[in-house]
């Protein structure tokens, strides 16, 4: 009899404990499930993106009048982005020259200014900054355009006409990116080098010959090669991501209509920027 209330109590406690335990198990279960769900959907999306890009590349052979579409895409990705690339490139070089000069001046080795400016531009800043600028200017426009075309059934119309929408809309843009990105990067680096010369040599008084010979001595052919490889990979990746996001604007569950277009454009730009920097690290570590 003495134990009865005690037992009663422990029973209650035990029940309470079981309850807490159960809810905790439930919570963990739902967390694990959410994790599983998001990783499956991530893998699914990655696979979908890979198939999207591959089918666009495969369409290269079957496309008709591809040249004209590529010219149009080159106009958008190339000519339209020229001002921003030139301005940003020049100022990047100017700032590098200015900062580098003052840092190197402390050690009395201003003569290495050319090496500093050229190596940072050729190896990293040129490809990365040019790609980011191109995403901002051409990639976002591309994602929005495709999103609107999806929204107003223009892509469905292409399909009903028997035109392969991948081949018509995506393939020429990917090809144009493979041309435009390396060209823009080369322009960015060239303008940046002249910017460095302007600030280091013209404004701060470093001998021009010292600057240019330092540039020429520092940059190896393999650096230029790496720069071009990076630019091509960035171009392919970012334009593919922007096309993918715009093309699939209708698949967004959270938003429809104009909101879906804006959401897909934002996602395209953010994902592209992340991809540029991630791919930059991976390529650098492979090529070093």
């Amino acid at each position: 009899m003495r134990f009865l209330p005690m037992r009663h109590l422990t029973k209650r406690w035990r029940r309470l404990g079981l309850h807490v335990f159960k809810s905790r198990v439930k919570f963990t279960h739902s967390m694990v499930r959410a994790l599983g769900h998001s990783s499956i959907s991530l893998v699914h999306r990655l696979g979908d993106f890979a198939l999207f890009t591959l089918s666009a590349i495969r369409e290269t052979r079957r496309c008709r009048k591809l040249g004209r579409r590529v010219v149009r895409a080159l106009f958008e990705q190339g000519v339209r982005c020229l001002p921003v690339i030139l301005i940003v490139g020049a100022f990047t070089g100017l700032v590098l020259g200015l900062q580098g000069y003052h840092v190197l001046n402390r050690f009395g080795s201003e003569s290495l200014l050319g090496a500093l400016v050229s190596l940072s531009l050729v190896r990293e800043l040129g490809p990365v900054l040019a790609a980011l600028m191109l995403v901002g200017q051409a990639g976002s426009a591309l994602a929005a355009e495709l999103g609107i075309q999806r929204n107003s059934e223009q892509i469905a119309a292409l399909e009903t006409m028997g035109v392969n929408s991948h081949g018509y809309l995506v393939t020429p843009r990917l090809l144009a990116a493979l041309l435009a990105y390396p060209m823009h990067t080369a322009l960015f680096v060239s303008v940046g080098l002249w910017g460095g010369w302007l600030s280091g040599s013209l404004m701060l008084g470093l001998e021009a010959g010292v600057y240019w010979s330092s540039v020429e001595r520092a940059v190896e052919p393999s650096d230029v090669q790496e720069c071009m490889i990076k630019a091509g990979v960035f171009g392919l990746l970012t334009i593919a991501v922007c096309c993918y996001c715009g093309f699939n604007a209708h698949r967004n569950r959270a938003a429809t209509g104009a909101h879906a277009v804006s959401a897909s454009t934002t996602r395209a730009v953010v994902l592209s920027c992340i991809l540029v920097l991630t791919a930059d690290y991976v390529i650098t570590s492979f090529l070093m």
Partner: protein, 266 residues
């Protein structure tokens, strides 16, 4: 089944089923379309008329049922048949779905240039001819956004017929048009149907005009065909749903009959 025989219907839909989540749009839709006919699918808004057409055009995938075109079944696997169907069929979107980054002429050139192997001069000739027939030849260099709604509709029709299709699907071609324009569009459809000899499937809810132009009428209600037959039979039918749809002004008169007694404004 002999594909070329004239008794084979050009298009037949059997037991088509489509639902979006919980909502069942088509439960059991059947339709037979013979060559050279103008077939109209009527139905209230939201009864799945457009979904039926989209299933036909391959934009939506039906859950169940089969679609037969010229004696062959259109399935996901039969890529060859589907490609053949796309070549021989055009779809006129309710929203026109013109490519707004291309001029009127480029819009018409597009299907010919991308899906046929015609030489460039021939493509240009046919496209200009299609524009001329729809009285758009003076607007060849305009963009769709610079055109009126009626002109856009005509441009979409020009793009649809330039490939000389055997079957044209019209998704509400008169939505949002005034009665005169509506008549003009229907007249245009019939005119070109006679001229080019294509088979037309029109989805609409303009009863009066439809009874004049079509050879075959179907009424879609609650996901299935409530009525299918000749327009004369449609006009005589005693089915309450048909009456409700066909004689809507009378029904309206009946509905508001009692309201007349108390005018809201003094």
């Amino acid at each position: 089944m002999n594909a070329a025989s004239s008794t084979t219907p050009l298009l037949s839909i059997r037991g088509l089923k489509k639902s979006f989540g919980e909502q069942v749009v088509l439960s059991d839709a059947n339709l037979v379309v013979h060559r050279g006919q103008v077939v109209t699918v009527l139905g209230r808004s939201g009864t799945g008329k457009s979904v039926l057409l989209k299933c036909l055009a391959g934009i939506e995938k039906p859950d169940q049922g089969s679609i037969w075109f010229d004696g062959k079944e259109l399935t996901e696997q039969a890529a060859e048949t589907r490609a053949d169907f796309r070549r021989r069929c055009s779809y006129l979107f309710q929203s026109n779905a013109l490519l707004d980054s291309l001029t009127a002429l480029e819009n018409v050139i597009l299907p010919l240039e991308q899906t046929t192997l015609l030489p460039e001069t021939e493509v240009m000739k046919r496209s200009l001819e299609a524009l001329r027939q729809l009285e758009l030849d003076t607007f060849a260099d305009r963009y769709p956004s610079q055109m009126s709604g009626g002109m856009q509709k005509r441009l979409a029709l020009a793009r649809a017929i330039v490939t000389q299709p055997e079957l044209v699907l019209f998704d509400e071609p008169t939505a949002g048009l005034d009665p005169q324009r509506r008549n003009a569009v229907f007249a245009m459809i019939v005119k070109y149907q006679r001229q080019f000899g294509f088979t037309a499937v029109i989805v609409t809810h303009d009863v009066a005009e439809v009874l004049v132009i079509s050879d075959h009428v179907a009424l879609l209600d609650a996901g299935r065909m409530r009525f299918e037959g000749k327009p004369e039979d449609f006009a005589k039918s005693n089915d309450p749903v048909v009456i409700d749809f066909r004689d809507s002004p009378a029904a309206l008169r009946q509905q508001i009959h009692g309201l007349r007694l108390n005018p809201p404004f003094v």
